[in-house]
């Protein structure tokens, strides 16, 4: 199968997306169902291009939904479900990369950039301030201030 047909095939899967709400799959307890749906949005459909299993109608996504619904229904916590998925499929399965040493750079970057940028902007020296007036200029200025009338009249 060439890369092209693969893309088209995957697009086909993508097209039929949006089946997490299929009544056949739903849990009866609305609270558990809500939790499961929230988890679906964080879990990547592994055979699709870039979608969550909440959106995908691929068979594998349906399998994952079934597994997660079962876990949720049996009272397993969200973080335990995530840990289970990562143990089985690797970090790739989570759309939100977990914060650890290897992803620290990613999570810190936006805030570091903001802080660094703010620091740069605040410490910015636009241009050297105009040189201080020389003693002669100060004298002239004083003379001007003391002279009666404004500049225009004096001219």
């Amino acid at each position: 199968m060439s890369a092209r047909t693969l893309v088209v095939a995957l697009l086909g899967i993508f097209m039929l997306a949006g089946a997490a709400g299929d009544p056949a799959e739903r849990l009866t307890d609305p609270k558990a169902e809500g939790r499961a749906r929230a988890l679906f949005r964080e879990v990547r459909c592994l055979v699709c291009q870039n979608e969550s299993i909440d959106d995908s109608e691929a068979d594998l996504a349906a399998d994952l939904r079934r597994v997660i619904r079962r876990e949720v229904a049996s009272g397993v916590s969200d973080s335990e479900v995530r840990a289970f998925l990562v143990a089985r499929y690797g970090k790739f399965v989570l759309l939100k990369p977990p914060l650890d040493l290897s992803t620290l750079a990613l999570w810190v970057l936006p805030f570091a950039a903001l802080g660094g940028g703010a620091w740069l902007a605040l410490s910015r020296k636009p241009s050297p301030p105009p040189a201080p007036l020389s003693p002669e200029e100060c004298e002239r200025l004083k003379g001007l201030a003391a002279s009666p009338g404004d500049g225009a009249n004096a001219a």
Partner: protein
């Protein structure tokens, strides 16, 4: 024969772009008017030659000439004419041709409309633009030619992916590419100005119209693509933080930052280096996007499937152009003058803050898009960075940025105080608080977040209106006078107001649609009904029918609306289409819009049984239309500003300043 003429034209365009670069640089070096004229002539020639090649390819598609490989791979005799034309840019090769058409088109526009530019700057800009054209046309001619012939032409073509056979998708690439490539002019201007070592208020004034045009076109391109995803992909999603979407969003964000920093450079002569840096970055991100989409390094539904070798050539082009431009910047930037002191609380201060947030947001999107690649290379394992990451990082960044936006528009240049601004914005703030409170009461899930979003959206819309009215003198002058002054305000002011309202409108739609969406799925037999919100949907019939190049099963669904006022009923006809040429099934959703909110119905597969049944999914998407209206308002605001007399005039020299002689000392 005509196809060979197209291939020849493409090579001619490549040569002419090279000549444009050569004449341009020589004309600058030797200060020669005839050489500069030759560069302009080459720019027009390159456009005409690229256009000829483009029209030839279009002709090949329209006449279904399957001896051309590109046509055989992407077209089909049964396809409607509009999709035969759209297939011209539906493939990697054809879309590179479109990219080149935009590139040479903008080059010719600089030659044609740049009459008021200083001759040296204009010549250099054309030279750099020519160099870009030379590189990308060279890539197309030697590595991605759409005119390759087949020795053994097939009788029928493979057709275009049916998902792409859609009017909005057909017209969105021309907008998108004009936007991407429009930033090439800004890039060329910046490189030219760096070579000349002159970046000042006048420079910002010349660059701004091109940035405005590119930004507006890119906005339209992105929103058309987003709207397509919304109704074509079948579950009402409109933004997926997909790598290819991000690729178009990064230059957009940088372009937005550039438009604002260029204002500071134009009015106050400050932020010169930063403005140039953004000018170089915008097109760099466009090129990065082109590489990401075409190299196959990222998994995305929008990506072209091309072999990695072509991708690596693009990577070399990207590295060379960005590397050269940034080196030039690092070398020249310290010599740029940066004038205009300002206090922290001032228009400049607010615009610096705006740039800080927009640039960080662009960087965040870039990091989220590229990190999986880096991670894979470093650890050998895959990593996903999806919507939850962007919601947690990009979301708060933009939230703060938009929260301070209305304040910034009221501040005066150099030094300002917040007291009077707060008084002028009190009414906007009050209404925004009320709107936020209402949202808090209505929405159950994520109520606090939603309320904050609604607050910011209303705050943006009313804040922008307050600024316009206050500029027209409301509160100081009589109503009649305010009306007259409103009409005579410069179009740039209207443009800014419109664009900021657009941001608010988009945000309102996005937040309310996300929080208030109702979703329902049910398996229905004929005659059965389901409820979505206060609407009842009844499946009345399901019939097969034939389209031009597909067969479809079409449902007729009766919609009964209860609720305030008279009950109404209507009919919707969602379909499932099968395209035999590609053996693909595509869902054609039905959408009914009421007051900006959408009822969205998807007709599922037939389930055989004693009586056949179908899975019908229906969504109520409140305020969904605002999501697409907002960006269009932003684009309209940009174009309105573009038509402002002050930009069009673009005086050839700095404003004449009366020589400020020593005051009254001569006597």
């Amino acid at each position: 024969m005509i196809v060979e003429f197209g291939a020849f034209s493409l090579i001619l365009a490549f040569v002419l772009s090279g000549a444009q670069a050569g004449f341009g640089f020589a004309g600058y070096r030797l200060r020669s008017a005839p050489l500069r004229g030759a560069a302009e002539g080459s720019a027009f020639g390159a456009l005409i030659a690229t256009l000829a090649a483009f029209l030839v390819l279009m002709f090949a598609f329209v006449t279904s000439d399957f001896s051309v490989q590109n046509v055989a791979d992407n077209s089909h005799t049964d396809k409607p004419l509009i999709y035969k034309i759209a297939a011209v840019w539906g493939s990697h090769e054809g879309s590179m041709l479109l990219w080149n058409l935009a590139l040479t088109g903008f080059g010719a526009a600089v030659a044609g409309f740049g009459g008021r530019l200083p001759k040296g700057l204009k010549g250099l800009t054309l030279a750099v633009q020519g160099l870009l054209g030379f590189v990308f046309l060279g890539y197309t001619v030697f590595a991605s030619s759409p005119f390759v012939r087949l020795l053994d032409p097939p009788v029928q073509g493979a057709s275009l992916n049916p998902v792409l056979q859609d009017p909005f998708l057909a017209i969105h690439p021309p907008f998108l590419y004009s936007g991407y490539v429009g930033f090439s002019v800004v890039f060329s201007f910046c490189v030219a100005a760096l070579i000349e070592g002159r970046v000042d208020a006048a420079f910002a004034r010349w660059v701004r119209p091109w940035a405005l045009a590119a930004f507006s076109l890119l906005s339209v391109g992105i929103v058309l693509g987003s709207f397509w995803a919304y109704y074509e992909l079948g579950w009402g999603g409109w933004w997926f933080w997909d790598p290819v979407e991000n690729a178009s969003f990064m230059p957009w964000l940088v372009g937005a930052a550039l438009l604002h920093s260029a204002v500071v450079t134009e009015k106050r002569g400050a932020l010169t280096g930063w403005t140039v840096f953004l000018g170089l970055s915008a097109f760099s991100f466009s090129m990065l996007g082109a590489f990401l989409v075409r190299s196959g390094v990222l998994g995305s539904v929008h990506a072209f499937a091309v072999d990695p070798k072509r991708g690596s050539i693009l990577l070399v082009i990207l590295a060379l152009s960005v590397g050269a431009a940034l080196s030039l910047f690092v070398w020249r930037a310290p010599s740029l003058k940066s004038g205009g002191l300002f206090a922290l609380v001032s228009r400049e201060g607010a615009l610096v803050l705006n740039n800080l947030f927009l640039a960080t947001a662009a960087l965040t999107v870039a990091a989220g898009t590229l990190f999986p690649l880096i991670y894979q290379a470093a650890t050998g394992h895959g990593l996903s960075v999806g919507a939850p990451f962007f919601n947690l990082t990009f979301g708060p960044l933009m939230g703060v940025c938009l929260l301070i936006l209305p304040l910034g528009t009221f501040l005066s240049w150099k030094r300002a105080s917040l007291g009077p601004v707060a008084r002028k914005l009190a009414i906007a703030a009050l209404f925004a608080l009320v709107a936020g409170g209402v949202a808090l009461a209505i929405f159950k899930t994520n109520a606090l977040f939603t309320a904050l979003g609604v607050f910011i959206a209303v705050w943006l819309i009313l804040g922008a209106l307050s600024e316009l009215l206050s500029r027209a003198g409301l509160g100081r002058l009589g109503l009649g006078q305010v009306g007259r002054r409103l009409v005579s305000l410069p179009r740039g002011s209207w443009g800014m107001t419109l664009a900021h309202i657009g941001v608010g409108v988009f945000l309102l739609g996005a937040v309310v649609e996300t929080a208030g969406r109702i979703e329902q799925a049910q398996v229905l037999h004929l005659g059965e009904a389901m409820r979505v919100g206060n609407v009842t949907l009844t499946l009345q019939s399901a019939e097969f029918h034939d389209g031009p190049n597909y067969t479809a099963e079409r449902a007729v669904v009766r919609v009964d609306r209860q609720g305030q006022g008279a009950a109404s009923s209507s009919r919707m006809t969602p379909e499932r289409r099968f395209y035999p040429a590609r053996r693909q099934t595509v869902s054609q959703v039905a959408i009914e819009t009421h007051g900006g909110s959408d009822l969205y119905v998807v007709f599922g597969e037939r389930r055989e049984g004693a009586r056949p049944s179908w899975l019908v999914r229906a969504y109520f998407n409140p305020f969904a239309r605002l999501i697409f209206l907002g960006p269009l308002l932003i684009a309209a605001g940009g174009l309105l500003s573009l038509s402002d007399r002050r930009l069009r005039l673009a005086p050839g020299a700095k404003a004449r300043v009366k020589p400020a002689g020593p005051v009254g000392v001569s006597a």
